[in-house]
Symmetry: C2
Subunit: 147 residues, 2 copies
């Protein structure tokens, strides 16, 4: 990798492919992934850029590894645990271990964010029907989540 990778506009970088968010599934919508700093950067972490098109959403999931997120484009909302938060550019999001989370772009704007994770990490799990039922106990969560 060259020492400096220029931003080419619209959150694209030379030599950084725009990839699918996940390889398969119907539990997410209109999400792309770009690995800005992967294992080759020699760090214990990786930094990825995710972008959700208007109304797009990531999957509702949890895992042992934490996330640290910096919003850099657009607007949206995020579920962390049992609360839904508004997101604007340069807001910071911390998703602790074993905590349900789902990102959703606004209906009229994309949502782009940098997501920091450890290089070694466990696989996400999605809620069981019982866990989904429990999440839906809170009306604001029930209307927000897409499962």
């Amino acid at each position: 990798m060259k020492p400096v990778l220029q931003h080419q506009g619209s959150f694209r970088w030379e030599g950084v492919p725009v990839q699918p968010y996940k390889s398969e599934g119907s539990h997410f919508r209109d999400v792309t992934r770009q690995t800005l700093f992967g294992p080759g950067a020699g760090l214990g972490c990786e930094l990825r850029y995710f972008e959700l098109a208007p109304d797009g959403h990531s999957s509702l999931e949890r895992h042992e590894h934490p996330h640290a997120v910096v919003v850099v484009r657009g607007a949206g909302r995020v579920l962390v645990g049992h609360e839904v938060f508004e997101l604007r550019v340069f807001d910071l999001v911390r998703v602790p271990p074993r905590t349900w989370h789902q990102f959703r772009a606004a209906s009229d704007a994309s949502l782009g964010f940098l997501c920091l994770v450890d290089g070694e990490r466990d696989r996400p799990v999605r809620p069981t029907p019982e866990e989904l039922e429990a999440l839906r106990q809170r009306p604001e969560v029930a209307v927000f989540i897409r499962a």
Copy 2:
């Protein structure tokens, strides 16, 4: 820490103190540091926001640990190894291990960037007079660096 820390404008975040870049020294100028995700975020890495006022510069240094940087504000230049690169918003910078580097803001703009490092890392070292002499062999480096 709350799950979401709102950006308060001008690259300030609630509860995130603006700190000195380093505790002492005259080898840097007009640099502030804010730790966005520190050890408490539970990751193997830390994410800091540095801001250099117009004409400000970080110290000329190197170390074993790599840096991964995302520019988020303003404009400037960076020395990586023996080359000087222009920087604009959302450019990516990778500083490999043991590589001389120095950031400098433009004369008419601040330079703000996110800098990712491993939580466990070695201390930076500054060039010896002989190393400085070697760096100055390249005219474009000689006029750029501040030691």
